[in-house]
Amino acid sequence: MAINMRYVVDGSDFTTAGEASTAVKMKLKKLGIAPDIVRRVAIAMYEAEINMVIHAGGGVAEVELESDKIIIKLIDHGKGIADVDLAMREGYSTAPDAVRNLGFGAGMGLPNIKKYSDEMHIDTEVGKGTTVTIIINLQ
């Protein structure tokens, strides 16, 4: 039986950014998912959640736990990504200075998601929004 979780990510507040990822991490731990899998989910989801806050004004996080994999969808209706290949490059960032001063904006978020997931998909349209799908296999 699949387990579903859904969280609204507030796009206006950096102090709460990461709450959805924190909640998912705790839930997966409780369900007895292997610690290394939980850590990978937490890292990949956190980066995607932070991106929604920084670049898209917030959105929704949906997590589906299946028997063999975890599927995480970060859905926003922000400005979208014009050039996904460019955005995927290490070091590429359009983050404003205020965000950089907080330690974000190193342009490593999307590469980190790729590194820690088994599959990653970006569906995006400029002016419409972005959905980042992260899949992590359970074994």
Partner: protein
């Protein structure tokens, strides 16, 4: 070495409650995506960043503790989050390089 032992031996000041989580190395950086992407599990994070997101990163990447350097003061929201999540935060008066060397020597690596 545990966080508690590291704090005592290095002469750091505890900012939040100490615990007995194992410290197996250190990662010195102020850029959050580098930290979350590269720091190993149970590493001590050596940084001058004091905002709440540093604590979130420590939780996500399962770091053993955060060692603030140069005597910087943790933000109130970060302090609250560290307490909530049981993240040990230590304070060093020394710069990040010296603090990292000190940890390295104490860990005998």
């Amino acid at each position: 070495m545990t966080v508690r032992q590291l704090c005592e031996k290095a002469g750091f000041s505890p900012v939040t409650e100490l615990n007995d989580v194992e410290v197996n190395g250190a990662y010195c950086c102020d850029l959050l995506s580098w930290i979350i992407g590269r720091a190993k599990e149970n590493a001590a994070l050596v940084t001058v960043m004091t905002n709440v997101n540093v604590i979130a990163v420590a939780v996500m990447a399962e770091l053993s503790c955060v060692v603030l350097t140069e005597g910087v003061i943790l933000d109130a929201a970060a302090l609250e989050k560290a307490r909530q999540n049981g993240v040990a935060v230590l304070s060093s008066e020394k710069p990040s390089y010296e603090t990292s060397v000190l940890i390295h020597n104490l860990l005998g690596k």
